[in-house]
């Protein structure tokens, strides 16, 4: 710091310096303290008027030559400045646009310690950052559903999942298009509210993933970690705790391809975020909580070779191998997945002629169904049908006489497990919402009963 101050033609005091970082009981970490400390020293030695600094937050990393370098996590700090009703925030120039996303505070972007001092002396006029703030930007996504030929049945399932924020698992033989389909899910997700955008952008800011982008993220994220991911990579952690994949997927999709390939340990870690919508990372002397409310989408083969119970291919797996493969995902994880869909390869001789709905068409319907839910659940601390508690299911998924009869018959004849009951009702609620229907009708329920395909495989295991 001495070098930085001297290199900017200021005097470094030849005195004892006492630095008080309050509060004392929180461990201070990160490089963003040296710039404010340097300004503090200059104020204490009257090289800059101390009164001018009052009411400003100052963040940034100082290099040896006195230049101010950008840091991660600016957005949450700017939000804090606004909440504390401070005047403004002095930030590294490269971070200025990110901070300026927050309206109603003064954002001063500086290149060097000197510029900051000049600003407080009234000798430097910073750029007008607010006018430069870009429109919200989109994360990059691959493709469109129109490229997936046919597969209207699966697209419909994903439409329902996206509309009600239901966790979903796809099961099918190799090459049936599971991965291709999953990658296009972001293209049908509804837009985010301002609060959702802000929350998500904060996480990306802390993770240092805004990469020069200087505004709010407007599209929902899609994260697809490989099955070799570490626990820290998944849930977050490290010395300066970085958000993990579950948080980077906040308000969006966490896609786990080849689900049974993930270790039991990793799958177990998903339990907290799936239940709570957030993740708590414990470290030596503190815990950090990051939001982690995502829609889980998983894909898998029904067995190691992929052809268990396939009517047209012989399965080469011994029964016990199939058993251990499938049992890896049974239990608590499966309990949190509302929809199970089978994916079969499309085998039409003329793929060009099949109907293939595009993403925009689906997304429009999803948006409408989302709006209905937001209205219905206003002030109840939930947003989507998938979040309904058992008590809420009783209240919002009421069935008429005919529907009750259908449900009873289905449970008797289709060998459904008791666990499936509420999931079917929640999914039926979403189907009714997509149909803009106040009540769950028979046709909605009849459709909802089709999303139990993985259970079918489990049924065959018992014999």
């Amino acid at each position: 710091m001495r070098a930085a101050i001297k290199n900017q033609d200021f005097d470094f005091p030849i005195k004892r310096i006492t630095l008080n970082l309050a509060p004392a009981d929180i461990k201070k970490e990160g490089p963003h303290f040296d710039f404010p400390i340097a300004l503090g020293i200059l104020a204490a030695t009257e090289q800059v008027p101390a009164s001018a600094l009052e009411g400003y937050a100052i963040v940034g990393e100082l290099s040896l030559d006195g230049r101010v370098r950008p840091i991660n996590g600016i957005l949450p700090m700017a939000i804090e400045v606004k909440q504390k009703a401070l005047k403004g925030i002095v930030v590294p120039l490269e971070n200025a646009e990110e901070a300026a996303v927050i309206k109603g505070i003064e954002v001063i972007g500086v290149k060097s310690l000197k510029e900051a001092v000049e600003y407080f002396k009234g000798e430097f006029k910073p750029d007008d950052i607010a006018s430069k703030v870009q429109d919200a930007f989109s994360l990059d996504f691959e493709g469109d559903f129109s490229e997936v030929k046919g597969q209207e049945v699966i697209k419909r399932a994903l439409e329902i999942a996206a509309a009600g924020h239901h966790n979903l698992i796809m099961v099918g033989p190799p090459g049936s298009g599971k991965t291709m389909i999953a990658k296009r899910i972001p293209t049908i997700l509804p837009s985010m509210t301002f609060e959702e955008s802000l929350e998500l952008t904060k996480i990306y800011s802390i993770a240092g993933l805004l990469a020069g982008k200087s505004s709010l993220i407007k599209t929902r994220p899609f994260r697809a970690p490989h099955h070799s991911i570490t626990p820290v990579g998944l849930v977050g952690g490290g010395r300066i705790p970085r958000p993990g994949e579950v948080s980077l997927a906040h308000h969006g999709v966490l896609f786990l391809d080849e689900l049974p390939e993930f270790s039991k340990e990793i799958l177990e870690l998903l339990r907290e975020p799936l239940e709570e919508g957030k993740i708590t990372i414990s470290r030596m002397n503190a815990t950090v909580t990051y939001p982690a409310s995502f829609m889980l989408v998983a894909a898998m083969n029904p067995c190691p070779c992929g052809y268990f119970q396939d009517p047209f291919h012989e399965c080469s797996c011994p029964p016990h191998k199939v058993h251990s493969y499938l049992s890896k995902i049974s239990g608590p994880l499966l309990d949190r997945i509302d929809m199970q869909v089978g994916v079969l390869p499309v085998a039409f001789s003329d793929l060009e002629k099949v109907n293939s709905t595009d993403s925009a068409t689906i997304r429009n319907r999803v948006e409408l169904a989302r709006k209905l839910q937001l209205m219905r659940y206003k002030g109840q601390n939930i947003f989507y049908n998938s979040q309904l508690t058992p008590a809420m299911v009783n209240k919002y998924c009421k069935l008429g006489k005919a529907e009750k009869l259908l449900m009873k018959e289905a449970f008797e004849k289709l060998k459904l497990s008791a666990r499936a009951h509420n999931k079917i009702l929640k999914v039926a609620r979403t189907i009714a919402d997509l149909d803009q229907s106040e009540n769950i009708k028979e046709i909605h329920l009849a459709e909802a009963l089709q999303f139990r395909n993985l259970d079918k495989y489990f049924q065959y295991l018992k014999v």
Binding site: G150, Q151, E152, V153, I154, K155, R156, V171, G172, P173, P302, F308, Q309, D310, P311, F312, H313, E314, C315, P319, V341, G342, V343, L344, V346, A347, F348, V354, N355, L406, E409, A410, K413, L414, I431, I443, H444, A446, E447, L449, Q450, N453, K456, Y457, Y460, K462, V463
Partner: protein
Amino acid sequence: MAELELLVALNMIPYLGPVRIRGLLNCFNTYSDFMNATRERLLSVPEVTPKICDIILEFRKKVNPFDEIERIKKLGAKIITIEDEEYPRLLAEIYDPPVVLYVLGEASVLNMESIAIVGTRKPTSYGQKIAEQIAGELAEFNINVVSGMARGIDSFAHKGALKAGGPTTAVLGCGIDVVYPLENHELMKKIVKKGCVITSFPANSKPLPSNFPARNRIISGMTRGTLVVEAAEKSGALITADFALEQGRDVFAVPGSVFSPYSRGTHKLIKQGAKLVECANDILEELNLRKNDSAEIKEPDLTLEESEVLDMIDYTPVNIEFIVQKTNKPPGEINAVITRLQLKNMITLLPGGYVMKI
């Protein structure tokens, strides 16, 4: 009339098959006579080679028929010999019938008219369905359904018979006190209640792969005919069918899809002359057992939409996507119709998302 202890003891000595045992029984009547026989006397039996003689000398002291009989009694099972009334008559007629059978359950079913149903351990849902159905129909005609209690078709055959309230017999490739496969524990209990579980292997025998040919011989040997439901090209079920032919019994086969690997074995049998079977009646007719031609088909009432969809579904699996594309209807509607057709018992949904008529 040979002593029970002698029969049990001979059956417990390894490498002594039914044919060698029959040879020994021509020379020995009592257990003590056999135990005291010299090497020379044993060798005078034409079926006994020097090597077999060594085995007999080694094992006749190790096996204890008294303990075995006591043990079986404690299990609530019993041992019947080839000379007993209860021994299955048809089995006694084959070239190499086992001299003793261990029986748990109702031994009287062993002399009812019996049909064997066998097939792959990994059936398709079509195979499961049809095995269960035909077994049920046979049971309704009071025919004892015999199978091997293995995974797959065997289990479904037993279940079908039990569901129809009929008798069924499971022939094991292990000791009567060994449950294999383990998951069939409950099924075994049910079979014992309604019919019986039998084996030619001494108590505590493990289900060694080498035991299964002998087991399969009993299955085909104690029945009038063997029905094969789904068998891949090289399948144990085809071996049972071969035994049936050797023993002069009938072989029946259920056809399947030309595309299904699990129908290759059954189609091969049909090409070789096995009778093609669609329902129990086809078997009963062939065996002049009893006929029933008043099989009435109920027409359930379907909506227009339901019949339209049903028309596109066949007895081979079809992808629901195909129906959506052909009808040009929203997939949600088609899925709802599929549920209704399922509940009306017109179609079945397979893992993965195929549907098929039933």
